[in-house]
């Protein structure tokens, strides 16, 4: 046995304090659990407890798939060519499904901008009319193997990074990062924004695609993220190291591509001037990694967290493509000069795919420069990450935290444990202005809605029972030979 008789008792108490105190009084060490009832789904948790062994095996499989993921940049292409079912009139957006009437300002702005950018609408007014009478189709990026930051709008002609997961081969795409300020992903659609989108499509994508083609092997995003975490990024809100590493990897190729020098210089300047350029690659890596676990029957591991500015949705490995949603939160954060909480839109973007794979807010301990989001000191950042191990199934083999003695980042959010402990994943994110087109007004922490995890836990308990029932019903019709 794993020792008890003959070994000193090291107790952990959950419940009546009297029992903890009495054990301590006898000279044994006692750790106290701050026990409280779960945040909901009590019956579902009880039912899942009866399947704890099966769930554990499923979670092991799901997390192993994430651990094994080797996201690599295969190239850059046109979204319409790479994303299934993305026709000219379909616009992908961040987060769970949403219709025009429920969209927040920044998302509407980005839809308007994309419609004009695609030439579907003649002008912004035309785009609004089109949207209102159902002339545009909307779908979540996640439903099409894509992710998008903030509004996350992807249209057919936009260039996207194409990331492929090693031998497993599942693919994910993400747009190219536009930089800060007035940009489409924050809902801006003025001439400057549209001109930039056109330049990115016509020049930046071409130059980068040429550079990627000259690399001796595809960019290894897992290695790059791992290094960035050890250089002070956490991969969501700070991407300065990642962007620098990317540029360093591309530089020799950029210097030798057969493209007009002015274009190459412009591309290099564009990347150099945007600390978040790497974010979109980290997100595509996240999507390719998390998707490797998607569809693992019975697993309680979160495979997507995404917000559309109105709702926050999650998916579980064990419940397929179903979204479980709650209201998107208000980011508790620091604001750029001249802005305050009254300007903030609700939480938005697919960038929480980074937390889903154990970086971003889950890895705050990696990023001393932005510790003020979690309280102010490096110790706060370490505490924020340590708390995440309480709700995750495993520790990343690829992504390590120097501040924690190179411990792997908390990987595989277990929705049962979120509900059980009441501890929500730490998400750190940018804040969009609530009006279209103003841009980023700050950054900070946001809490996902607990009800999404409660609903997911209930659905998992239900699906687990259906799985058990299935063999019986499948036996019925044919009779069979037992």
């Amino acid at each position: 046995m794993s020792g008890l008789l003959g070994r000193p008792v090291r107790a952990v108490n959950a419940g009546v304090e009297l029992f903890a105190g009495e054990v301590e009084r006898q000279g044994a060490e006692v750790t106290r659990v701050e026990w409280r009832p779960p945040a909901g789904a009590e019956e579902a948790l009880e039912r899942l407890a009866g399947r704890a062994e099966e769930t554990a095996a499923a979670n092991d499989r799901a997390v192993a798939a994430m651990q094994a993921a080797e996201p690599r940049v295969v190239g850059i292409g046109r979204a319409g060519d790479l994303v299934p079912d993305l026709d000219e009139r379909t616009l992908l957006h961040a987060g769970p499904p949403i219709g025009w009437t429920d969209m927040c300002g920044p998302l509407r702005g980005a839809i308007i901008g994309a419609a004009v950018h695609e030439g579907i609408a003649a002008d912004p007014d035309d785009a609004v009319r089109l949207a209102e009478r159902g002339g545009l189709r909307f779908a979540p990026c996640h439903d099409h193997g894509a992710v998008g930051p903030m509004a996350g709008v992807v249209s057919a002609s936009m260039p996207v990074w194409l990331v492929e997961n090693g031998d497993r081969g599942n693919r994910a795409v993400c747009t190219l990062n536009e930089g800060l300020g007035r940009v489409l992903r924050y809902g801006a659609y003025d001439v400057q924004v549209l001109d930039r989108l056109a330049w990115m499509r016509d020049v930046l994508a071409r130059v980068l695609a040429a550079a990627l083609a000259r690399l001796p092997e595809p960019l290894d995003l897992r290695a790059m993220i791992a290094q960035a975490l050890q250089m002070g990024d956490e991969g969501h809100n700070r991407n300065r190291a990642g962007t620098s590493l990317l540029l360093r990897a591309l530089l020799p190729a950029l210097l030798t591509v057969d493209e007009p020098t002015a274009d190459v210089v412009a591309a290099a300047q564009f990347i150099s001037g945007n600390d978040h350029f790497f974010l979109n690659l980290a997100m595509a890596a996240g999507k390719a990694t998390a998707d490797a676990a998607a569809g693992t029957a019975g697993a309680s591991i979160v495979t997507a967290m995404a917000r559309n500015g109105t709702e926050f949705g999650i998916r579980l490995a064990g419940t397929g493509d179903r979204w479980f949603t709650g209201p998107a939160g208000v980011v508790d954060g620091l604001y750029l000069p001249g802005f305050g909480p009254e300007d903030a839109n609700r939480d938005i973007g697919d960038s929480t795919i980074t937390e889903t794979i154990g970086i971003g807010g889950m890895a705050m301990a990696a990023a001393p420069a932005i510790v003020r989001f979690v309280g102010g000191s490096p110790e706060d950042a370490v505490a924020a990450t340590l708390a995440m191990y309480d709700i995750t199934w495993a520790e990343s083999a690829a992504y390590q935290l120097p501040a924690l003695g190179f411990r792997g980042t908390p990987l595989g959010i277990d929705c049962r444990e979120v509900v059980h402990t009441g501890v929500l994943p730490t998400v750190n994110t940018g804040i969009a202005h609530k009006d279209p087109g103003v841009g980023q007004v700050g950054a900070g922490l946001v809490e996902p809605p607990m009800e999404a995890f409660v609903a997911a836990t209930r659905a998992l308990a239900g699906s687990a029972e259906r799985m058990e029932a299935a063999p019986i019903s499948s036996r019925a019709p044919g009779g069979g030979d037992a």
Partner: protein, 514 residues
């Protein structure tokens, strides 16, 4: 008359988060309308322009710092700029964004799994959460590799069996649910007494049964190796003794254990046979203690049977044979009592103590009504109303719902003591008093005035007998507790069976040898 100030610091880098924080703090200064400390990126300069600050962008770049303040007057603006500089100089710490605790402290774990993950040296979970939350805590603890002592009740027998099988497969003990007592490596869990280490290993499906036997052994100068509680339903047909069998395997391999006592209320006969065979398979002498009126199972070689806890303790204290006389504690024989005829009313905190005493009385008087009856036809119609010879277990689920166990909160029993004393039918009140870890800090102090009052009200027609379950080392002080009870007029013994005999004698019934 507002005043604006714009200053530039070339080549001064601060992270954008620091700058946002400092800007916000500066805006909270008295007289300040707007303040900004930003890196001179094009986006930031545009933002400053929106706020009405004109910055000569000139040759500024991202590694240059721009400080802007608009305040009520020049003086306030200057003061604010100074503050901004000071904040930047000391920006290493200070209040955060309002997000997070800011203490740098990791909050206490909220689940056993989390605790075990944080500290891999933890090996035992002590669980007393509400029953409806029990299942996932137990499952989580086992999965985290923890042995579990589960005081709570609340798993149906099939679930209990399933989790016990999990535990056994993982090489873990699941003590409970509904496990009142265990002593592992000298550490008492739940309600347990401070008894010395020694050669007797105990497996018990009854908390107070373990307490009684360990205390009687203490009185006899014998110690225990481990007392492994398994929960009240382990020997039920549904659970099938999974943990009892597992515990026997562990104690068989434990060098400190020389002989075994296995305690349960009367078990399922088939399970009893399994347990008897498993006890024999340990190769160590063993006694089965199943107080009640049941028959012993077929006994393989090396396995004895004791119809009472007292006899089992005597067997164990005597090195594996039952000494003549049965009793193990000379001090448990007070002077023969004055006879106060009438019904015996047993008011118990400990279920097995109640059973033990009830069986002694029933052998003499026949029917004893109870909420935990020896025979189903002897069940009390209403546990709050006595019928002739009546024994009530106040620790029974129906009487503890929504309140603490009577060993901690004796209120309900105290009230019943008053009523029984006032009942002219009552001849003898029999009480158990349980000492040890987890129990009331001074039960005798609480009970003594009530006993005095009862005896005064009974006016010579009432006796009070106390079975004092305690060890010499208990925190309440065994001798002091006994003295306080005797001073109040109670007849005190250290054994439930002896107390029952004393009660019979006091009621003028049967032989009543105390």
């Amino acid at each position: 008359m507002t005043a604006s100030r714009v200053e530039v610091r070339r080549g001064t880098y601060h992270d954008s988060v620091t700058l946002m924080q400092v800007s916000r703090q500066a805006e909270e200064l008295p007289g300040v309308e707007a303040a900004a400390a930003v890196a001179a990126t094009p986006v930031n300069l545009e933002l400053l322009a929106r706020q009405g600050f004109t910055v000569n962008a000139g040759e500024l770049g991202p590694s240059d710092l721009v400080l802007c303040v608009r305040a009520a007057d020049e003086e306030a603006a200057a003061r604010a700029l100074e503050q901004v500089e000071a904040l930047l100089a000391g920006a290493g710490r200070g209040p955060g964004s309002g997000a997070g605790s800011g203490s740098g402290q990791l909050a206490a774990p909220r689940s056993l799994r989390a605790a075990a993950r944080r500290d891999p040296d933890l090996n035992l979970a002590v669980l007393s959460v509400p029953g409806r939350h029990l299942h996932y805590e137990v499952a989580g603890a086992l999965q985290a590799g923890l042995h579990v002592f589960c005081f709570s009740d609340g798993l149906d027998p099939a679930t209990e069996a399933a989790r016990k099988r999990d535990a056994a497969r993982r090489g873990l003990l699941l003590m409970g649910p509904d496990c009142g007592t265990a002593i592992i490596d000298g550490v008492g869990l739940g309600f347990a007494n401070a008894v010395p280490r020694g050669p007797v290993g105990i497996v018990g499906a009854s908390g107070t049964g373990i307490q009684e036997v360990t205390c009687l052994l203490d009185a006899a100068g014998a110690g225990i190796s481990h007392a492994i509680g398994v929960g009240g339903r382990d020997l039920s047909p549904e659970v099938g003794g999974i943990m009892t069998l597992r515990a026997l395997v562990l104690l068989a391999a434990d060098d400190a254990t020389e002989r075994l006592v296995i305690i349960s209320k009367p078990p399922d006969p088939r399970v009893a046979r399994l347990v008897a065979d498993a006890a024999a398979a340990t190769g160590k002498p063993a006694v089965l203690a199943f107080p009640g009126l049941g028959d012993p199972p077929p006994l393989p070689d090396g396995v004895s049977f004791a119809a009472s806890l007292e006899a089992a303790a005597a067997w164990a204290a005597g090195g594996g044979s039952v000494p003549s006389g049965g009793a193990v504690d000379s001090r448990s024989r007070p002077d023969p009592p004055a006879v106060t005829p009438g019904a015996i009313r047993g008011l118990f905190c400990g279920g097995t103590l109640c059973y033990e005493a009830m069986a002694v009385v029933a052998r003499v008087v026949g029917r004893v009504a109870s909420n935990i009856p020896l025979r189903s036809e002897w069940r009390l119609a209403d546990p709050h109303r006595s019928e002739g010879h009546t024994f009530v277990d106040f620790g029974d689920d129906a009487l503890t719902e929504g309140r603490a166990h009577p060993m901690i909160d004796p209120g309900l029993r105290n009230e019943r003591l008053r009523r029984e004393a006032a009942d002219p039918e009552t001849g003898v009140v029999l009480l158990d008093v349980v000492l040890g870890y987890g129990a009331h800090p001074d039960p005798a102090g609480e009970l003594a005035p009530l006993i005095e009052g009862a005896l005064a009200e009974g006016a010579g027609g009432l006796s009070v007998v106390v079975s004092l379950c305690g060890a010499a080392g208990d925190p309440q002080g065994l001798d002091g507790q006994a003295a306080a009870l005797r001073a109040a007029g109670a007849l005190v013994t250290r054994s439930s069976a002896a107390a029952a005999r004393l009660a019979l004698a006091a009621a003028g019934l049967g032989k009543g040898r105390p």
